[in-house]
Amino acid sequence: MPPSIHPVDLVTALRHKHLTPAIVFLTSRRACDEAMETFDHADLVLPPVRQAAIGAALERVIAQYPSIAEHPLIPIVQRIGVAAHHAGHLPSWKIAIEELMRQGHLDAVFATTTLAAGVDFPARTVVITQSSIRKSRDFTDLTIGEVQQIAGRAGRRGKDYVGFAVITPSPYIDLNVLTKGLTGQPEAIDSQFTISYPMVLNLLKAHPHEHIQGILAKSFAQFQLNQRAELLERKLDLVQTQLEPFGPRVCTDWITQWQTFDHVRKRRPARHQTHRSDSPEIAARLSFLTPGRVVGLSKGRGIVLRQYRSKGQKNSMLTMLRPDGAVTECPVTSVREVYDRTYDCAEIPTYPWCSAETFDRLSEQLEELPPRLPILPILASPPAEPLPDAVVQSLGDFPCPTCSSRPACQKDFPTASRLRQEQHRHTKSIQALRTSLWHRFQERVEVLQTFGYLTPTTQLTADGEWARLIRIDHSLLITELIRADAFTGADPSLLTGVMASLAHDDDRPGAFPRISPGLSSLLRQVRKLAESLSPHEDPPLLRADVAALAERWVAEPTLTWIGLCRLTTMAEGDIYRLLARTIEFLSQLQTLKATHPGLADAAAEALALIRRGVLEELP
């Protein structure tokens, strides 16, 4: 038994049951291409009438997009009525296949899951062969929304009474993911709002500083933060009612009195020192790193099982449940993110610090967490003042032993203190949720002030005025390069090369064409600057191979598309996307005409040179 069905058998079966036209979703481009090869000698040939119809339809598309005239897949498309469609192909090829599919000429298209999003490409049947999808470097399970986008391609309105989603297994498929996806409710949308440097500059260009908080408050991010804050406010209300019986007694704020007493009583000199070594940020986090809290570590995630201090350690320590069910110890400083997600955790005083059921449940929950989690904004407060000596000394004659309310206070203190701490935690969280966007904005403002794009009174400086027109990824790096005169006198091909290496964020390896010494030294400069900016902006991949490729395309106007493709092992669809992204980056430089005429001219020239052949077919 082969691990998955042979493409020829698949198409035969689909035809036999009248389940064509179908889209077959495969794991990789390679799988799609290999599927095509299996049709080379297949005797699934279409009747001549249909072949002729496909030929005629193809001719019409080729008239519009000459670049696909010689496409190696054309014979198979025409003879058998099957095609491949994935990101490795040129857009014009994909448009052609979509058009043939819409006109009903094809029986099957082998595609990768990227197709599922947003392309108008329906069929009677979709065939699903996988339950996970490659995202950046890792495979992750398809979400319910994704499964439904895929299945949504099945059944064309007006052309089908019914649509079919057919699952055919391949190794490592998880049927549960797919059945859940088909029968479940799609996931809720979570805001992915981030505050970028160009956003800050453009906001401050158009609005006075004091209006910005109101503008940020209009984001969906703030809407969702408010929803969470309201939830906490309800909890806070509850805590406050629970605190009512513990109101004023002989002293008005007896809880604080007792807490102070408790605090001093427990404090040992050695601990006192280690405690002070926690920075305010860390100290602020400590109250959130309680058992059951989900956190992000430098590698993966974990759930906190216990917080403790250990003698030899400078920092507070955590016992952490990790994804493989492992229990590890790590210092609080290794926590990268604190997520807004906690689970119930039945604590016990011995290893592994929670009950067996909790452990089992937490391990499961840890593995089922969605790929993105809301981050808990935490405000750091300045380090707590050490208690004045006078207070510490006076505690020696703590008044309580003679107080009439002492027995009641002693009895209530554990509950009251817990409630009070909860109250504080909620209050802090609510405050953080309400103001976190504003704080993030302020952080960006400070960076822009340091670099001189904003004045101390948050006006745009002369550099800020033009820098706000660069509204792409790595904007800080690009504007800093411009200010460092890195591009002065650079010819269009050099500029294209650098922009390509900035624009390309894919780590799919390619071959290495010859790179010019000029570009190579310029890239070194870019890399150095990118590294120095890394505390403020994530550095780009800066791949030299794609830079060299783009440089060649502009430097050699006689180079044909085929010639360019031969220089590298990259798929032509990837080369196209590289150059298309480079065009976007260059067109932003072109907008700097007023302040940087030389650079803008070079960019315009580069754009004119890039736009030829295939790259001119589409707007």
């Binding site: 038994m1 691990p3 069905i5 049951k17 009248h18 389940l19 857009p91 994909k94 448009i95 999003a117 947003g118 392309v119 108008d120 996970s132 495979f139 399970d141 929304g145 986008q149 949504g152 391609r153 099945a154 059944g155 309105r157 009474y161 019914v162 649509g163 079919f164 989603a165 699952i167 055919t168 297994p169 490592y172 498929i173 998880d174 059945t179 859940k180 088909l182 029968t183 996931e187 809720a188 949308i189 805001s191 992915q192 709002f193 453009n202 158009a206 209009k218 969906f220 994804p323 493989d324 089992d360 449940r361 593995e367 509204r471 298309a580 065009i583 067109s587 932003q588 589409l618 707007p619």
Partner: protein, 351 residues
């Protein structure tokens, strides 16, 4: 138990049990198929064989004890410990009956051409969008484009300009062709970073990033587009709001969309469309109208195709049993288990 015995023993178990066994032992075990799972379990247990064997034994006993009270327990979904699981519709009465392949395949064909009659939700959305912002969340392939086209037509008849954005250049191009055919090529333009085709046309197509940039330029006073006559902004594929890298652009666009223009958000089914509508209501001059439904216009059936070419329905019911992922067709279940058995690593596979 020898390794071979243990492997055989594991191979006889359902995957669910293997996953329970793998929990806490194997990183991301839920990603692995049966064959890989067994491989990993064996690998892992090379340090602690006894532990694995005793856990296996315990699980088998527990399962045995559980299956005694009554067969039907096997069919009900496992008790869900998460609190906010959606309310599940009641199970169909006849649990044991399962649809036959013949009836599953029945009714395939092409419907006779019908005069176009807009769906009620389409009419509702259209009448709403002349008054206020509208969020549409309906399944893929329902006919959102019709609403976009008609709304654009009406706005243009009113001498207002319309902007249509999509997340992908490829999609923009398709729509450019489609809309040019519908409205005439002089009425439709397309904008990219460095090019404009027919940039003065009343209906402009662009990616959402380009619109965001236009809105920033307009806000700082460098208007190069007639924003004061803008009557309608259509954001297609709005579920991109959740995209980790690009979602922010949709938020910026919506926040800065001029208040006299109506917003029309087209989205595939999402979990919280009401939140999106409430958000719009909270920041825009008029109350946003939500148009949603989750029923597909063309009904869907799911099937299972074995690598040997055998086809069977995937679920017991003809349609999709929403809320009941475990209601597998017995034949599909059997074949899939067989598949997992046969793709085991020990070289027992027939090829």
């Amino acid at each position: 138990m020898t390794t071979d015995e243990l492997e055989q023993r594991l191979a006889q178990q359902p995957v669910a049990l293997l996953h329970r066994l793998a929990r806490g032992r194997i990183h991301r075990h839920f990603r692995a198929g049966k064959r890989r799972l067994i491989e990993l379990l064996l690998q892992h247990s090379s340090h602690n064989r006894a532990g694995l064997e005793s856990d296996l034994q315990a699980l088998l006993e527990a399962r045995h004890a559980r299956s005694e009270p009554g067969e039907h327990r096997l069919h009900s979904p496992p008790p869900d410990t998460r609190k906010k699981a959606p309310q599940q519709p009641p199970l169909p009465a006849t649990i044991e009956s399962a649809v036959s392949l013949a009836s599953w395949l029945e009714g395939i064909g092409v419907p006779a051409p019908q005069p176009f009659v807009p769906d009620p939700w389409q009419t509702e959305a259209l009448s709403a969008v002349s008054e206020t912002d509208v969020v549409i969340s309906v399944p893929t392939g329902s006919g959102k484009t019709y609403v976009a086209v008609e709304a654009a037509r009406r706005a243009m008849e009113d001498n207002r300009t319309v902007i249509y954005t999509s997340p992908l250049k490829a999609l923009s191009n398709t729509k450019y062709t489609e809309f040019s055919r519908l409205f005439g090529s002089d009425k439709v333009g397309i904008l990219t970073g460095d090019r404009q085709e027919n940039g003065q046309a009343p209906l402009l197509i662009m990616t959402t990033e380009i619109l965001r940039n236009l809105l920033y330029d307009a806000a700082s006073g460098e208007i190069d587009i007639r924003l004061d006559t803008l009557g309608l902004v259509i954001l297609d594929e709005s579920q991109y709001l959740a995209d980790p890298e690009r979602g922010v652009v949709w938020e910026e666009t919506i926040i800065f969309c001029p208040s006299q223009a109506k917003l029309l958000l087209l989205s595939a089914s999402i979990g919280n469309p009401q939140d999106i509508a409430d958000w719009l209501t909270s920041i825009r001059p008029t109350a946003c109208r939500l148009v949603r439904h989750s029923k597909r216009t063309v009904p869907l059936r799911a099937g299972y195709l074995h690598p040997n070419g055998k086809l069977t329905p995937l679920f017991r019911s003809l349609g999709i049993p929403y809320g009941h992922p475990a209601q597998l067709h017995p034949e599909a279940k059997r074949l899939f288990l067989e598949y997992e058995e046969e793709t085991l690593p020990s070289g027992r596979s027939r090829r």
